[in-house]
């Protein structure tokens, strides 16, 4: 009969299709869908997750959009994404089957160097399905529930809070936005849902990392954060420790709505293994006097395309994007930001710091648009790039469209390598060349690193130090 997965799928094939709805003869436990993407597979995903009818229709419609849309012709080469050969849905328990020995040695070695505790390592490796922090997790949940904050995984949210999800899902990033948002909308699984009631300030950063009852990082995570007026929340995802992933396409969508006077900070640190295409659509709508802060750290993956966006839709709304990219040999990190000023007196700030080493390539790609009538708006972009080796590459593709004379936009960028004088200065005080390079690189990313929660910042610095030791010489 073959594996359980195959058997389960065989049952599905023989089942009846009634009224156009997918309804199997008996319940089958599917570990993962077969390779490739088709309408049937989208139906299976909706069925396995026991989703309401409206979500199933959203998925099917998005699947049609995905088939029609073409991949972007600009940016890094993603022609080798083999859509027909991917598994689009893998149950989280499937990942437990991964063995420690399957994980590449360099990743295990990195864990030693940056000091990840042993228990965490197993979790990150997928050897352990859940991180053992049950007591911590439950006490956090109790505190949150008292204030009315909802923090759960997206799968649960669709079932338990359909009225909120239905109202906001796909409103910030519609399926038709681009080919990968269409794909995500069709096959999404996992991700977080955060709802913060008016006036509530969540003091503790919410971390997906410590969610126990939900699948950890999925290939097609869908995250939705709603901050009601006057609220504050800081959401953190990812980790500096390298994540090994057997699936090579990660395409997440993050939608954030910041209502009047609210503030949301979304911190990501991504360190996927080099076989991963990391193609993400992240966007926020910011209303009157709201503040949105994206802190985006990109260290891993083979190809990343990610442009956190702020759409400033209310007077005096403010958006900030702090983006860091470190690309080594075999990596292309195409990151940046978009700021669309849709109201007067709005302001945006974009800071991008990239490091290219070996033959790695980083690109900053950004847009600032101020339409007519958005008087009093201001934007400033600064992107700096550091090249550490002769064959490293860095590009900058900014774009400023200003249709309102009573607005101020500024942009500055600089690219270069570590100055000989700087190295000499540090070496003459007893540091080795490697230590000097690490120190200068740490100083280079400091404006972004200092915005990370402490444990991330510490790990990031250690990780960069380790990466730099390979860059020198």
């Amino acid at each position: 009969m073959g594996s359980r997965g195959r058997q389960g799928t065989a049952n599905m094939r023989r089942s009846n299709v009634q009224d156009g709805l997918f309804a199997p003869d008996k319940v089958s436990y599917i570990h993962r869908t077969p390779r490739g993407l088709s309408k049937r597979i989208v139906e299976e995903i909706a069925y396995v997750k026991k989703e309401p009818e409206w979500m199933r229709r959203v998925r099917l419609s998005a699947h049609q959009t995905f088939l029609r849309r073409k991949a972007p012709v600009w940016g890094p080469d993603i022609a080798s994404v083999d859509f027909a050969n991917l598994h689009y849905y893998i149950r989280p328990t499937e990942k437990v089957a991964q063995r420690w020995s399957d994980v590449p040695a360099p990743i295990r070695k990195t864990y030693d160097r940056i000091g990840i505790p042993r228990a965490e390592r197993k979790y990150l490796m997928g050897v352990m399905a859940q991180y053992e922090s049950e007591a911590v997790y439950h006490s956090i949940q109790e505190k949150l529930a008292q204030t009315g904050v909802i923090f759960t995984d997206m799968d649960t949210a669709v079932r338990q809070h359909p009225e909120i999800i239905q109202r906001y899902f796909g409103t910030v990033v519609p399926a038709a936005d681009n080919k990968f948002s269409a794909l995500n909308t069709a096959v999404w699984s996992g991700g977080s849902f955060v709802y913060v009631p008016a006036g509530v300030r969540v003091a503790l950063p919410l971390q997906a990392y410590y969610r126990i009852n939900a699948p950890q990082v999925g290939q097609f995570e869908r995250t939705l954060i709603i901050a009601e007026p006057g609220s504050y929340v800081h959401y953190v995802e990812g980790c500096t420790a390298p994540r090994y992933s057997t699936s090579s396409l990660h395409s997440a969508v993050v939608e954030i709505i910041v209502k009047k006077g609210a503030r949301v900070r979304y911190t990501t640190v991504q360190n996927w293994s080099k076989n991963v295409f990391n193609l993400v659509t992240k966007r926020s709508f910011v209303y009157e006097e709201g503040i949105m802060e994206w802190v985006d750290g990109n260290i891993g993956s083979g190809v990343t395309m990610k442009y956190p966006s702020v759409y400033l839709l209310g007077r005096k709304a403010r958006g900030e994007v702090l983006s860091m990219a470190c690309a080594g040999t075999g990596q292309v990190i195409d990151a940046g930001a978009r700021a669309i000023h849709g109201a007067p007196e709005t302001s945006s700030r974009i800071i991008s710091k990239s490091i290219s080493k070996g033959t790695g390539r980083t690109s900053y790609r950004g847009l600032v648009r101020i339409p007519r009538g958005m008087r009093g708006s201001a934007s400033h972009v600064s992107c700096d790039a550091l090249l550490l080796n002769p064959r490293a590459r860095s590009d900058t593709y900014p774009r400023m469209e200003v249709y309102e004379p009573q607005a101020r936009v500024g942009h500055e960028a600089s690219v270069g390598r570590i100055g000989e004088e700087q190295l000499f200065y540090l070496q003459s005080r007893g540091l080795s060349e490697q230590e000097a390079v690490s120190m200068i690189v740490a100083g280079f990313v400091e404006p972004i690193a200092k915005e990370l929660p402490l444990e991330y910042a510490v790990e990031l610095n250690r990780l960069l130090e380790y990466e730099m030791s390979n860059a020198v010489g």
Binding site: A407, G410, E412
Partner: protein
């Protein structure tokens, strides 16, 4: 396409499209006033230099494309641009620098004033090839807007080696209320103040790098 071979240091005035080859060791000064759709290509020889002023007067439509190839070591290019748009003008200026070998320098300083319903696009591309060690490249594009004008600024960099210093800056703004108040408090009418500020803004770099 008109081809101009510059063998001795001299000044050239141009209106339309052309191709300029600057011989090694020569310093050329070019004054280019593009009209309609014009393109200018410059090839620089060893240790040669070009100082190029590009001036766009108010006219309905201009699309100017300037490409400079620094093919030999020691080549230097300085481009100073002053663009003025009024009424319903649509201006597009693109400056591309190719740094192909070591020890070359470029400095691009563009300024545009757009009034009425005009719009200006200032695009720059600096390409530094893998063999172009010790390149120093700078691009700046600043726009001053009045009335209902608009501007699009696209300064791009493509850098393929590490031993370089490349930077760019771009701003789009209008004259602030404080600046106008300062001048009017000294008895200068708003119309005169606007012309003074726009004039000094446009000519800020003229003659500064020659």
């Amino acid at each position: 396409m008109k081809i101009i071979n510059v063998a001795t240091s001299k000044k050239i005035t141009l209106r339309a499209s052309a191709r300029i080859n600057v011989r090694g060791g020569v310093a050329a000064t070019v004054f280019w006033q593009p009209v309609a759709a014009s393109s200018l290509t410059v090839m620089l020889g060893k240790r040669s230099r070009i100082y190029l002023s590009c001036v766009v007067q108010p006219q309905v439509r201009v699309s100017a494309n300037l490409v400079i190839h620094l093919n030999q070591p020691g080549a230097e290019a300085v481009v100073v641009g002053a663009f003025h748009g009024t009424r319903a003008d649509r201006h597009q200026v693109r400056v591309v620098l190719h740094h192909n070998v070591r020890n070359t320098k470029s400095d691009i300083l563009l300024r545009g004033v757009y009034e009425g319903n005009s719009s200006g696009t200032m695009a720059g591309l600096i390409v530094i090839e893998p063999d172009a060690h010790r390149t120093v490249a700078h691009y700046s594009g600043h726009a001053l807007l009045f009335d209902h004008a608009s501007a699009l600024s696209v300064p791009t960099l493509e850098i393929q080696t590490d031993d370089v210093r490349a930077s760019h800056s771009a701003t789009i703004r209008t004259v602030s209320g404080e600046e106008l108040f300062y001048l009017s408090s000294r008895g200068i009418t708003p119309g005169t103040a606007r012309r003074m500020i726009a004039g000094s803004f446009l000519t800020a770099h003229i003659g500064s790098r020659s």
